[in-house]
Symmetry: C2
Subunit: 739 residues, 2 copies
């Protein structure tokens, strides 16, 4: 942090712009935290009401829910705080010293967020284990839920903010007024830059913190079941190794003269840290784990009798995670880098217009999603095989693979923060007009690297969702079986063939749960995309208004009021995040109480399957479109200002809410739904024969979700509704827009 802050800040104009961005970002986050405080206060009470093993566990779960949420917020805040300071320094470095220093500052800025992510995650989980020992798993559910819920809200809110500003700025600036991106005459540019930070920095850091925390939760829960007390230690050692490798990885990431692009240096840092992790994990396994299962204390007789070597299983699982992370890195890079075939093909398709750009991007996105899903599926299956037929060991192996994957999280957060920081740096450079020639070229190429790193992060984040969710099925089963063991005859009769634990999807009710789970992912994505459209519409209206009422803006004699657009984005994104948030929390509750625990389990599986594919599809098609635009801007197919450029700008605009709003929010969505399901599972079983409670809870949950969806649709529906077909918007007061 000190190194970043010590760097030069460039010209006064650049500093002024950076200052405006800093103010806007801080204002947004403060207001968001105030809004979300209601959840952080309310939910602990609800959590306390749910069945728990003991009062101390119930209290701990509520307390650590708050701690998880606060840590999540803190990670996001710190990441963003430094990012809004790093951006101008990267621009200054590009102006004064060239690519190497610029890249170094950008990456180090991200490194701080990376350190916070791993440090706070490990701290929280370790404290829970130390305080609660064998009760730790239940308390950890609260910790993970707090982290995931806050991260989801930050991802959705930040994602709507950033893309409302970005799309709105582009639509009026590039499309209507024909002025370049980041032109200071556009009132939405500051909001656009603020958005990059609140969405891609704060939202992403919170998201990865949450991934880290939930993965640790899952591995600790299963570690205890599979490996006994040693199982509570080893899953903490792996991320400790991750802390070390993150430090090494971040400091070894520096461009060399022979590199093809900035991506090479990042890849090198990533693979070095993955390699070091693998070696250290192997050492740790031999130091901390016994050579046979009979040497483990506190495991079930079935497990103690296994003949395989727990050390090799642990090493194998962590290696699977590392290989998966590397494979996603390579695969995502292939599909989104400017110099690889898919992006070049999308670029070429710009010659036949925007429609083919869209189709090519969708086709690339769909295909890449499949390969990512197969990689993740392969990793899960590989870890499953490590269980040698014992499901508990298999699930622990899945969780350990996730922990292994996350030993690279330090580098990954650095990589991701790299994206918005260099994007912002380019924005500041362009707005100030003070960075030209080679410096500007450096920033453009860094920005393209940022698009790829952002897509990679999303791919890895969704992989953690699948691994964590798969592993948490073990906890789900334990929770349900615990209740089934003590269930009354009435409950057993009500459950029928589901009186013994069973999530078999050949039963129609279970299949219905599965379909609903997949459907929620589609609805969530659709709502998020629509929310961006609505908010962007209001930005378009405001910017148009400013051009109209302040005629001096265009010739530079008058300054636009940047703050108003920031305010609009802040207010709208906080309002728009309610519906998707309620959907995530309440739908599993409705499914569980309406249909039972088995459809609820299948619901999670459906959300995992559809969510994985949808998340990667949205992230990669968006990243590929963005880089196809950069490709054309680099002079291919006619270059800037050509019809091909216009076609790729359209592709990029479509991709904006894909890759930065809907796509990345799916990862915390899956985690939130999983933890909600896990927390309510005992209640769902207990009240299986209580029709009044079941109907009451279902009606309440469905009613709130439907109400939220209807209300959000009542607001102005599309971008264009701020501009009626009769072109009467000149007569309308801003207040009526969006009503």
């Amino acid at each position: 942090m000190r190194e970043v802050l010590a760097a030069g800040q460039g010209t006064e104009r650049m500093q002024n712009i950076a200052h405006a961005v800093q103010q806007g970002a801080a204002a947004y986050l403060t207001r968001q935290f105030r809004t979300l405080a209601v959840f952080v206060v309310l939910i602990p009470f609800l959590l306390f009401l749910l069945p728990a093993d003991s009062t101390s566990v119930a209290v701990g779960r509520s307390v650590f829910f708050v701690i998880g949420a606060v840590f999540s917020a803190l990670t996001g805040f710190i990441g963003m705080w430094l990012a809004v300071r790093g951006n101008v320094r990267v621009a200054a470095a590009a102006r004064e010293s060239g690519e190497k220093l610029a890249m170094r500052i950008a990456f180090r800025t991200g490194g701080v967020a990376g350190m916070f992510t791993v440090g706070l995650g490990l701290l929280g989980a370790a404290v829970v284990v130390i305080i609660y020992k064998s009760d730790a798993p239940s308390v950890l559910e609260g910790f993970g839920f707090g982290a995931a819920l806050l991260a989801m809200f930050m991802r959705v809110g930040g994602g709507i903010f950033t893309k409302a500003a970005d799309v709105g700025a582009d639509l009026v600036g590039k499309v209507e007024q024909g002025i370049p991106e980041d032109d200071p005459r556009n009132a939405a540019t500051i909001a656009d830059n603020v958005g990059d930070n609140v969405g891609d920095c704060a939202g992403m850091a919170a998201d990865l913190f949450e991934s880290y925390a939930v993965m640790l939760v899952a591995s600790l829960i299963l570690g205890k079941a599979a490996f006994g007390t040693e199982g509570l230690v080893f899953p903490l050692i792996v991320p400790m190794i991750g802390v070390i490798t993150a430090i090494i990885g971040i400091f070894t990431t520096r461009p060399r003269s022979g590199d093809r692009s900035g991506m090479s240096a990042i890849n090198r840092g990533f693979f070095i840290s993955a390699g070091i992790s693998a070696v250290l994990v192997a050492v740790a396994a031999f130091v901390y784990l016994p050579s046979s299962f009979s040497g483990l204390s506190g495991v079930s007789p079935a497990i103690a009798g296994l003949s395989s070597d727990p050390r090799l299983i642990a090493i194998g699982a962590v290696l699977i995670g590392l290989v998966l992370a590397s494979a996603i890195q390579v695969l995502t890079g292939y599909f989104t880098e400017t110099n690889r075939r898919p992006v070049r093909d999308i670029g070429k398709s710009s010659l036949t217009g925007p429609a083919t750009v869209i189709l090519a991007g969708i086709s690339v996105g769909l295909e890449s999603a499949v390969y990512s899903a197969l990689l993740i599926g392969g990793a899960v299956y590989g870890a499953f095989l490590l269980g040698f037929g014992n499901v508990t060991i298999a699930l622990f192996a899945v969780a350990l693979a996730g922990t292994g994957l996350l030993t690279t999280v330090g580098v990954i957060v650095s990589m991701d923060t790299f994206g918005p920081v260099s994007d912002n740096a380019q924005g500041i450079a362009e707005m100030s007009g003070d960075v030209e020639g080679e410096g500007a070229q450096v920033l453009t190429s860094l920005d393209a690297v940022g698009n790829t790193t952002k897509a990679i992060t999303k791919g890895i984040a969704i992989a953690t969702a699948v691994l964590a969710a798969t592993a948490l099925f073990g906890s789900f089963r334990t929770a349900v079986e615990g209740q089934l063991a003590t269930a009354t005859q009435g409950v057993k009769d009500a459950l029928g063939s589901f009186a013994s634990f069973n999530l078999s999807i050949d039963s129609p009710n279970v299949l219905v749960g599965l379909i609903i789970g997949a459907a929620v992912v589609f609805l969530f994505s659709g709502l998020a995309i629509a929310a961006v459209g609505r908010a962007a519409g209001r930005v378009v209206y405001e910017v148009r208004e400013q051009f109209r009422t302040k005629p001096g803006i265009m010739d530079g004699t008058e300054l636009p009021d940047y703050g108003r657009v920031v305010d609009i984005c802040t207010r709208d994104s906080l309002r728009e995040l309610a519906t998707p948030g309620l959907l995530a929390v309440l739908t599993p509750i409705a499914v569980g109480f309406a249909f039972g625990y088995a459809p609820l389990g299948a619901y999670l599986a459906g959300a995992i399957a559809a969510g994985t594919l949808m998340a990667v599809f949205l992230a990669n098609s968006g990243g590929a479109w963005d880089n196809a635009k950069k490709l054309v801007e680099d002079g291919h197919h006619g270059g800037k200002g050509s019809p091909a450029h216009e076609a790729t700008i359209i592709g990029d605009t479509v991709g904006d809410p894909f890759k930065d709003t809907a796509g990345p929010a799916i990862n915390p969505l899956i985690k939130v739904m999983n933890l909600v399901a896990l927390l309510i599972a005992p209640a769902v079983v207990t009240y299986a024969d209580n029709v009044a409670i079941r109907v009451g809870v279902t009606v309440l949950a469905v009613g709130v979700v439907v109400g939220a969806v209807v209300v959000s649709k009542r607001r102005s529906i599309s971008i264009a509704s701020s501009d009626d077909n009769d072109n009467d918007h000149e007569e309308r007061a801003p207040e009526t827009v969006g009503s």
Copy 2:
């Protein structure tokens, strides 16, 4: 048919155009059938090798596979044969007599295909039941598989043909040359019109025939298990009623003067036939079914002891299907009709350019998919409840709901064929220039109605896929349990906790199957969209070549060579259908042999969940975009030629492969994968402990699929690759394109 053929055929120019379309369509279908003959010859032998109860069943399954395939082809052929004759007569009627007659002819043309669909489906199933009696279920699997496989190929091939021609024609015509759609100077217009017929008529009719046949297969298999021998009769009576109501429905569909649009008449016909079906089914249940389960012959003791009334269960199930069909009709209409809010919103978003049109359409599509999925899920759950805890009865109720849904299929096929016939009529009118003023207006409004009816058909088709697939889980279970009962100890050891039937998705391997199932839907969609892009690229190249080498085309002194474009589309679509086809057949084989029966079952569930959502999303967003374009063409937001119009044209072009290639092919995809899984399930269990066979089959299946994907990517990748960035296409011979 006689009524249609007796109608006037308009001017000579119109007849010439119609003749060219007829020739092209017949040539395509002939060539397609010749290509597919290899499957129809080869697969029966492979089928014969799979385990069967007796040799007569094995022979019957192979023979009825061929019959199913031939019936499917025949339905498609007849539907198309009349459609290419009906189109010109509709145009002539619009020119000479106005909307009422035009609509009547268009609807009657579809009616013939509708009659064939219900007639041949019922005939095939009834013959199997009469010949094979209690062995009928196994033989019916062959019949359904043949029908589904051929329908899938026809959907994919026809879908690629129609959209390659359409997109290619639009890109050169509207975008590059600035000439209107269906301008006779565009060499791709005839191919475009041929495509409407081979895709939307032939492909759709085969698809609905297949839905009908597979649904009947499922209900007969389960009917026997649930209701004994009466269970083989009642599922045949329901579609018999469907034949009667289809006739009534088709003849009552005629516009009245008070109708808001052509859609009102179609809705009336649909709801009248649904109502009549409900009444007749109730009568039939009281005549053909006993009042208690103990009165049924040949059922298991568990079922004979049930206290509920089988007649009420049957009536309830059929009613659920009818309500579902009506609800999908209403819902799809809401999301795709020009005068409803979603399409109007997309239309409005055209004011801010193509990007917002795309985003609005995607958002509408995603949301509508969720509601459709919830409706379908609700129907499945409702039918499940009718089982009162008995899974066999529940599955039969699901199947009966599907049969009930399909009593409306006669009207639905008529509705759907309505789309391409009126689209073609408009094309003929525009190309000939002989229909002007009110006549042209009539055809435009009929075309818009066609977009909605096409979306409705796809919604209903995918609903049948879900219901059939859910019901077929019963057969899957029976098939697996049959093998497990006689399995060797080696097999049982290899299966571990899956030695008794269990598809519980909390086991990681099962979850992996689920993810792969969902992934296949994404890959299939991506491949289909990419295939359209490639084929359209070659059309673009050819049309550009013709404009270049025949300068007289533009001023009307020279005729373009329509036949060459038809040839290109024919050749390319037949080549492109291989990869998605192989994917559908081989992936379940690979999953089954690699991972086992439980992941295979989950694979089907994943494909159902993701497939339902994806199919409706693609169909509805495509339909909505098309109608948003029509809305603008009707004079809103600037009307024809405005920037808003251009934006909606781009939306429509993106929607083309969504709604007419990828989307509708998902229904037969799900059915084919289901039937393949069902047919191989016994072998999968039998060879569970034979690693050599498992690895061999898996490697072979995966190898062929990967090879096919790689080969299809080797071909020119995107539309633009026919036009290199160096603009060197003038020097290149056509032969090098696409290599």
